[in-house]
Amino acid sequence: MNTEIVLLEILFLTIGFSGSYYLNGYLYTTFKQNKMYDPIVSRSSHREKATRSGGMALFFTFCICYGLGKAVYSMSIDLYALIAFIFIALTGMADDFFSIKYREKFFLQVFAAIVLIQGGVYIDSFHGVFGVYDIPVWASYLISIFVFIVVVNAFNLIDGIDGLSALLSIKFFVLIGALITITSNEMYLVIPSIVGAITGFLFFNFSATKKVFLGDTGALLLGSVIAFFIFYILDSKSYIVTDDLISRPLMVILLIIYPLADTLRASLIRMYKGQSPFVADRVHLHHRLIDKGMSHWGASLSILIMSISILILGFVFSSFFSLSISCLLIFFYMTALYYLFFN
């Protein structure tokens, strides 16, 4: 283990946390002075006043950490990825302030995805899933754009209760952080900065007196950063140290299993009812836990623990069984979890 790397990561975690904590408090006060509260509607899981300033605080914290990391250390991330993140964050801000239409938001997300893949990091291989490895460039682009849209919206849709989106993002970044530290001398400081920023936000998200939500800015921004790292994992040019342990596509699915499964389930239910799959309602799995009387923290923590257990089992199954058998066993485990906790 390189002590210098660990110390640098702790430093950027601290900077991210401090910056986010300060900015969340500052932006909360500013939003409050201007009476910019999140509207409470029938499907809201909260009844107290809260601002949607968390995403902005995350974005600014990330900018500060990146500027510092770039100036002092060798922190660097692909320029196109940065442009895509900024574009997505601005889209989220527009949505938070003016509530833009879903169709417009969709096209803006497609544009951000196109910008992101210009950096040369995209899904160019199925890594053996269905016996397919390398795929044509046009198919790579289409699949990458599709995955970007799915991931970004999945993280936006699960942002329905306190802490859930943030905690699941932290879980993702914790594993990715370890992978990136092995692989990249430029990007490894990006992860602790983000994790620190999310941690600082969480203390406001659970606060009784200064409640802050991620808003579309935060959820879309986190989703886009997660999508970028998913591209990084699924790009055959990337070196991923877990290749001997688990298939890359399976690892990606397990890392974002809850947002994916919940979004898929909610969309299917809506379509079954003859509604648009994008309509906002309370059919999400986390709403079920809240309706059962769980607190927001209890529900978010339960889902986090369940998704970590699925991830660990995925690694264990993959070490012993083939990809298809591992997927089947994980599916059985998830079904058992559903009937035990959500039914």
């Binding site: 107290e48 006043k49 932290i170």
Partner: protein
């Protein structure tokens, strides 16, 4: 120890050869007992350093470059010399240099790594025609041609000035440069790559420890040798050198003030390093042989990892999940604390994700509890006393308001907020107490 090394250094001069001029090449030769020093006019054998031996055949005309620019490899106890940039190949056997290829000086692989593996000679990487190359070519002894071998996997973009090491059918390469074809800007690569020489598939193994500075940032030329299955890297302008073990993923740095770093064009022969040293006064170049027995005695730092691999990954995963566990613990404690905190505003009380509307009297009562945990009955009564109403009316109104408020709060927040008890100091006086597990904070900004 340094004294001993200095003595060894001077002893080695006793068996040294002296040359005038820079154009010579030290080659391993077929025997462990001696090495050769090739010059245009003849060659020296180390066991008879004073005698210049003439070549049995004249040097081929195509060998129109300095001998020092050739790269030599010993393959099946024979010495082969590669023309700079690749293509032309010569053998040095039985005192004669002969051209053995049917190729041409293609100038495509300057600085490539020329090596022997099993029964073949290979040339990998290099620079030519404004491009860094990651191709690997094999010399065909039957037809004298160089053949390009197709490779698969995570191919590096270009391999220039790299550090190479062959071990167990694997060719490891790191610390190399690639160049942008448009502006020739150098890009250093910080990953370790491995090429399986059986399957010719590339794999990236991880980021190399930054104790090894990139090749374009160090002074002097870089040399690397395979010594007993370990990789030795040294720089001509620095007394510090590195010994890396790729099997155990360990690297360690050493210092050698006397022997090592000033010897140029060095080769490793058995347990000795053979290199050239130029006398700054006379200008004479001396080829010397140094024993490597004591060279590892002066360690600078403790052992470090060579590259970040799976072992480091598990350490980082452990640290990451420890952090996650710590975060969950802190947030649980925090949530327990904030779960008992309620925010009082002029028209509402909110907390635990719920909110309740408040009348003015209810707000006034709760405001008292935001200041003190126990409030006397008389203090609450002050809220209800009105000039034109009787005290009895005020008492009844207070009792009803407190009772209704408590019921309302219990219904929404599922907790008992207020409790009425006799004062411990005066049994005739009643006090209201806020539940010990509840904290009311008044919103200061509104």
């Amino acid at each position: 120890m340094r004294f001993l090394i200095l003595i060894l250094f001077f002893i080695s001069f006793l068996s040294a050869q002296e040359f005038e001029g820079d154009d010579f090449l030290i080659v391993e030769g077929e025997s462990l007992k001696y090495y050769y020093v090739l010059k245009k006019e003849g060659y020296y054998i180390s066991d008879k350093p004073e005698k210049l031996n003439l070549y049995k055949k004249s040097i081929p005309e195509s060998l129109n470059v300095s001998l020092s620019t050739l790269t030599s490899v010993t393959h099946n106890s024979k010495t082969y010399l590669l023309y700079p940039g690749g293509g032309l190949l010569y053998s040095f056997i039985d005192g004669a240099i002969e051209r053995i290829d049917r190729s041409f000086p293609h100038r495509n692989q300057y600085g490539g790594y020329f090596f022997s593996y099993k029964n073949n000679l290979y040339l990998i990487g290099g620079y030519g025609f404004w491009q860094t190359k990651s191709i690997i070519t094999k010399f065909n002894f039957n037809n004298g041609d160089w053949e390009i071998i197709n490779t698969t996997g995570q191919l590096p973009k270009g391999l220039d000035k790299g550090t190479y090491f062959i071990n167990n059918d694997n060719l490891y390469v790191f610390d190399f440069l690639s160049r942008n074809t448009n502006n020739q800007k150098e890009k250093t690569e910080d990953n370790l790559y491995v090429l399986n020489l059986k399957t010719f598939s590339w794999k990236r193994l991880g980021v190399v420890n930054d104790i090894i500075k990139p090749v374009n940032q160090v002074k002097g030329s870089k040399r690397f040798f395979n010594i007993d299955g370990k990789l030795l890297i040294s720089y001509s302008e620095s007394p510090e050198f590195f010994m890396a073990d790729l099997k155990t993923n360990v690297i360690q740095n050493f210092r050698d003030d006397a022997l090592f770093y000033k010897s140029g064009r060095a080769i490793v022969k058995g347990n000795s390093l053979v290199g050239a040293i130029k006398n700054p006064v006379t200008g004479l170049i001396t080829v010397e042989s140094f024993t490597l027995n004591n060279v590892l005695s002066n360690k600078l730092d403790k052992e470090l990892y060579l590259y970040r691999g799976s072992k480091e990954f598990f350490i980082y995963i452990f640290l990451s999940f420890t952090f996650l566990l710590f975060l969950i613990l802190i947030l649980t404690i925090y949530y327990r604390r904030v779960g008992q905190t309620y925010l009082l505003e002029k028209d509402s009380l909110s907390g635990s994700g719920k909110s309740i509307g408040l009348m003015k009297d209810e707000y006034d009562i709760l405001k008292l509890f935001s200041e003190k945990r126990s409030v006397s009955n008389s203090l609450i009564m002050e809220i209800f006393l009105e000039e034109n109403k009787t005290k009895d009316f005020a008492v009844k109104k207070k009792n009803k308001t407190v009772l209704d408020l408590e019921k309302k709060l219990s219904l929404v927040f599922k907790k008992s907020f207020l409790e009425k008890r006799k004062s411990s100091s005066d049994s005739r006086e009643l006090n209201y107490f806020l539940n010990k597990k509840i904290k009311i904070i008044e919103d200061s900004n509104d």
